[in-house]
Amino acid sequence: MSLEDLYREVILDHYRNPRNKGHLENPDVKAEGVNPLCGDELSIELNFEDDRVSAVAIDGQGCSISQSSASMMTEAIKGKSRSEIETLTQRFRDMMSLDGETEIELDPDRPGAVLGDLESLQGVRKYPVRIKCASLGWNVLLEALGETG
């Protein structure tokens, strides 16, 4: 395991150029969260159409892991239903909690369960103190979804 496995190019790309950054005009739901240990911050705003995410925006500041994870998350949840997002979230959490040696194999045909770029965050498992960074966006997402649930 080397630093290049943790800081893969796709992670650095999302960190430098976060996707869906900003704010929505009339968000249906929103939430914000902070990691009190390190001070990383993230807000998320969502709009739904027919129970599917039609627009998402994030804003925040923090390390490459927290911000890239959130950026990739926004791409992964667009167009997804709530139940698909729940499956996806579980997938992500499973990936983070796996023993660092195990390479996970994702089933690309499983509906709503494709992590895509997020798989690049697998390397974080080798750095246990950084898992909370990768999880920040997802925790805020769940809070936002719970707001209406």
Partner: protein
């Protein structure tokens, strides 16, 4: 060059080669401290101030000898002015609640600064809310030092206490406590100093310092965790009510009332950290065998080397003064395009331990306009090799993240 490289062998944790640059958070422990605690626990340990038996007398003697040792170390006029606490935080809370609740009310002002550690901010926020006193802060100037002109302007008869750091855990600066104290005293205010970073790194004489209370921790000065010191001028301690009640701190107790034991025991409710006091005693012996002037000179030498070597690392900004005047060996850094946590992870891969984050000083981070910094802090066991590893790791981080490319 203050060569202290022979000391490294006294610190077992460092044997694995770690470049430990986080002494500002907590320091490593030398063998003499570990052995003193072990020997005491094996041969002389019992509760203090209670037993009529020989073992308890021996234990009490060791505990009180530690108090006298601390008093001598900081130039206190009387060992009774030394109160053992759990650490700096408890010591500062003792002043905030024990002194503050007695002497503050609506219309009074507490004057702190915007560079404080949360331990010297949050207790005052709590006490301000309870008493109706207001809380004001001395700003930091653009030179990373307290704005003393603003300080003088903010002083007035309504200021009852000034709460200030003796050395910033982020910036490394040492505010002029003597001047700050003299000005405060002119207005009848008490002065409490968060000396958690100051006492471990420089020679402190409380009489010369001029404050009314100072607080510091054993674990940042080569001693064990779990014990710290509140020093108070006797007149200031006499104005302070006990903050915790319980055993040991009373003179007499009925079902409805109690009277307090003598100072300092009235501030030491419950069984105190006895083995830790013995460890702190040994830590002071160890530091004095080096000499506190040597300790500071060594810290500053490393700081100077680091500042010089960091000046041509692409994207690095030092969050603090880049000169060596009135400061200690603490360097906070940020790098363009690389977050402090990423810096810390990359440095850790190279065996370099630094602190990253807001350093329990979030208002100061906002003032500096950064969310977090990576902080290197130096102590007696650090060497130039640690700086080599630090600078190498920072360059690697810059390359990995494409800084300056």
């Amino acid at each position: 060059m203050t060569d202290l490289s022979h000391l490294k062998a006294d610190f077992p944790v460092l044997a694995n080669g770690v470049h430990f640059l986080d002494s500002g958070a907590s320091s490593q422990k030398p063998i003499p401290v570990l052995e003193a605690m072990d020997r005491f626990a094996r041969t002389s340990y019992a509760n203090v101030h209670r037993g009529a038996y020989k073992l308890s007398v021996a234990s009490t003697d060791a505990y009180e000898a530690a108090r006298a040792r601390v008093a001598g170390f900081i130039g206190a006029a009387d060992p009774r002015e030394v109160v053992f606490t759990r650490g700096t935080t408890t010591a500062l809370n003792t002043v905030a609640f024990g002194w503050g609740l007695e002497h503050l009310g609506p219309g009074d002002r507490i004057l702190s600064t915007e560079i404080e550690h949360h331990a010297n901010l949050v207790p005052w926020q709590m006490v301000a809310k309870r008493t109706g006193a207001s809380l004001d802060h001395v700003p930091m100037g653009d030179d990373f030092r307290l704005d003393l002109v603003a300080y003088e302007e903010k002083l007035g008869p309504d200021v009852k206490i000034v709460a200030v750091t003796g050395m910033s855990n982020v910036l490394g600066i040492m505010p002029p406590i003597r001047l700050i104290s003299d000005l405060a005293h002119r207005h009848g205010a008490r002065v409490v100093v968060d000396a958690a970073q100051l006492v471990p790194h420089t020679s402190v004489d409380v009489e010369a310092l001029g404050a009314d209370f100072i607080a510091f921790s054993s674990h940042k000065m080569l001693g064990p965790t779990g014990i710290g010191v509140l020093w108070g001028r006797m007149a200031a301690l006499e104005e302070t009510e006990p903050f915790e009640g319980g055993g040991e701190m009373i003179s007499d107790v009925t079902l409805h009332d109690a009277t307090w034991a003598e100072i300092p025991h009235r501030f030491e409710a419950g069984t105190p950290p006895i083995i830790e006091a013995v460890g702190l005693h040994a830590a002071i012996d160890y530091l004095e065998s080096i000499g506190m002037d040597q300790v500071l000179a060594h810290d500053l030498e490393l700081t100077g080397i680091a500042l010089d070597r960091l000046s041509d690392v692409p994207g690095i900004h030092i969050q603090g003064p880049t000169n060596l005047e009135d400061r200690g060996g603490v360097l906070s850094m940020s790098m363009d395009g690389v977050h402090a946590h990423d810096l810390a992870t990359i440095l850790d891969e190279g065996g370099v331990a630094v602190r990253s984050g807001h350093h329990c000083a979030k208002p100061l981070m906002r003032r500096l306009g950064v969310a977090a910094t990576a902080r290197a802090s130096f102590y007696v066991y650090n060497t130039e090799e640690d700086i080599d590893a630090l600078v190498g790791g920072l360059r690697q981080a810059g390359e990995l993240f494409g800084v300056g490319s």
